[in-house]
Amino acid sequence: MSLLTDDQKMLQETAASFLAEEGSIAKQLRHWREIGCKDGFGHGLWKQFAELGMTGICIPESHGGLGLGATEATLVLEEIGRNLTPSPFLTTAVAGVRALEGTAHADRWFPGILSGEVVLALAIEEGPRHSPEHTALEAKRQGNGFVLNGKKQFVVQGGSADMIVAAARTSGSPGDREGITLFAVPKEASGLTVDSQALVDSSKAARLKLANVELDADAVIGEIDGGWQPLSRALAAGSAGAAAELVGVASGASAITLDYLRQRKQFGKLIGEFQALQHRAAHLYSEIEIARAAAFKAAQSLDTNDESAELHVSVAKAKAADVANLSVREGVQMHGGIGMTDEHDIGLFMKREAVLGELFGDVYFHRNRVAELSGY
């Protein structure tokens, strides 16, 4: 595995200092939660992401982006995770960009993403568990275009999105990869109902109803019936990105827990002196290092088009979710009573982990993918 280049280290430092300062829990997550913001994130910060060039990390240089890859996205996402920064970065600038890349929609949407004015959302899920092959949302040909009928859920930032990338079925049956088509659905489409809900972590996700939504043929992203290709590209980038963000969540939760172990006194001792807690903290450290390595491996394998990239992505998502879950559980427990209060930040990490763990497939989904890809 190659280590970070000097340019990558510089990007990492930029992202780390920018997000620690501007993306902090107090300035962003708690602020938007308290004022009851309908988006759950700040558009001002999204513009600042754009000014730093970060919204264009995955956009090709030919479109005015930085033309970098999954590894660079990983560096930014780990810092987003560490600060619990609410942001459309993962769904718009990583997964969304990968879905549109190389299609006619890139010209239409990339400029707005680069300037921090556009937010995209992905409408994939139709049930409570991730299962993209089971896309059933109906898209029937009508004249020169299509008419869409059905439902979607867990559309992250669906209520704030200027355009929704929706997976629909144009042929075949749920369970088939063939016959899925991706559509660009504008937010103002007639027949589209967007019901935005707050999730456990105060982020927003929408339930969509599509009732006779009429779209032109040029709303198709990629090929008709061949939507699996851009969809799987978006899902791989999204899963690898979510893994990196989870590593950040795990790391952020463990950092404040370690601080607490160094400050809290009971029985006349710092509780960090107790071996029962030291060993659990050391085990957690080891697990976080391993999860970070898995996330880098996944990103590098995507960047080099490694033939095992899909396997490495599932390993990373499963491992990072597992470890982040351990980190937030240990964090709340080791904080004792104060960890159960809304005032303390550790509980916010637990809430974020729950959402990111589910996004693009949970631990069980990705373990199962590892088994399938390994032939058992």
């Binding site: 595995m1 190659s2 280590l3 370690l258 172990l261 160094r262 001792k269 710092l270 960090g272 002196e273 071996q275 030291q278 060993h279 903290a281 050391a282 085990h283 450290y285 080891s286 697990e287 290092e289 391993i290 999860a291 390595a293 898995a294 880098f296 491996k297 396997l311 490495h312 599932s314 390993v315 990373a316 499963a318 491992k319 597992d322 069980y364 990705h366 373990r367 199962n368 590892v370 088994a371 390994s374 032939g375 058992y376």
Partner: protein, 380 residues
Amino acid sequence: MTDLDGFRSETRAWLEANCPAEMREPMRSEADACWGGRNWTFQSDAQRQWLEAMAERGWTVPDWPKDYGGGGLSAAEARVLKEEMQRIGARPPLTSFGISMLGPALLKFGTEEQKKHYLGQIARGEIRWCQGYSEPGAGSDLAGLQTKAEDKGDHWLVNGQKVWTSYADKADWIFCLVRTSTDSKQGGISFLLFDMETPGVSTKPILLISGSSPFCETFFDDVKVPKEQIVGEVNKGWDVAKYLLGHEREMIAGMGLGTGGSSVTLGPITKPADPLLRAEIAAFDVDALAFAAMSERFAAMWKAGEAHPASPSMMKYAGTELNKRRNELMMAAGGSDALEWENGSTPRSWLRSKGNSIEGGTSEIQLNIVAKHILRLPGT
């Protein structure tokens, strides 16, 4: 074509011409390893040819300097050689504690004379080494060791007992921690090298639950060791010992990656039919592949000097715990087949793996080290 590509194609051609077919077969067990040494009986001509060919190029220790019997390869070239060996399934030409443990310590702490004398012998597989660290009263608390070395003017006089000395009964020489002062615990330890045929040295193998005897008790009764056979300064052996332990832990951590050509993951080899076992094996495979990524990253960081000096402890902890889990699942997947003892490697490997998280510092000691040196938790 870059220089490295050129090196790769030359290496590939040389390996094709020089690695015997038999040495490209996967190793069935530890018994297939070539340990070398004065009393070594080669398993086959192929094993001898392979060692001699590799030793002549310095490729038993590719990244050691040429002056000391190494290949003088850069880190990138050494990686290419490793990849090319893996490509054809070539066995390691030589397995040796001299290479994995003593050599790195001599390179750092040895005198020029010691390096010239000992390193070449190690590289060529002429001397087989064993490690005299643990004692009956000094296990996890290694610095509490009591084996005594008295300064007798022209020699050290060594008396005491070591335990868990790996392959002491087969080794030619020992690198041994001894107490040269009782004024300070860690500051009274020295690092000696001596011949196992010196009068007063005796060994007794220990039968393990796995049915094998890789370890011995080793006794020293008035053993005379020449004065110059000390590594580092008198009473500063603990620094050498700790440095060497880092390399030992790195080596043991590699066990998490599976041994002797077996796969990192378990699913493809066990084909679990039971859905609950399949789920557990899939969970294991995720952890195993994630640890494989960690090993790659650790190796790159360690070489670049970017790894925390205590990180081998974390790798040793994670790798050995993973290997124990691997063996538990192999037993579960094997069912009653895995219970057969006479020709069964599964139950022996399972039982042997229990020692992985004890030898070279227990898991609990590694966690202590991580808590103290990496996490900087108080009171340790």
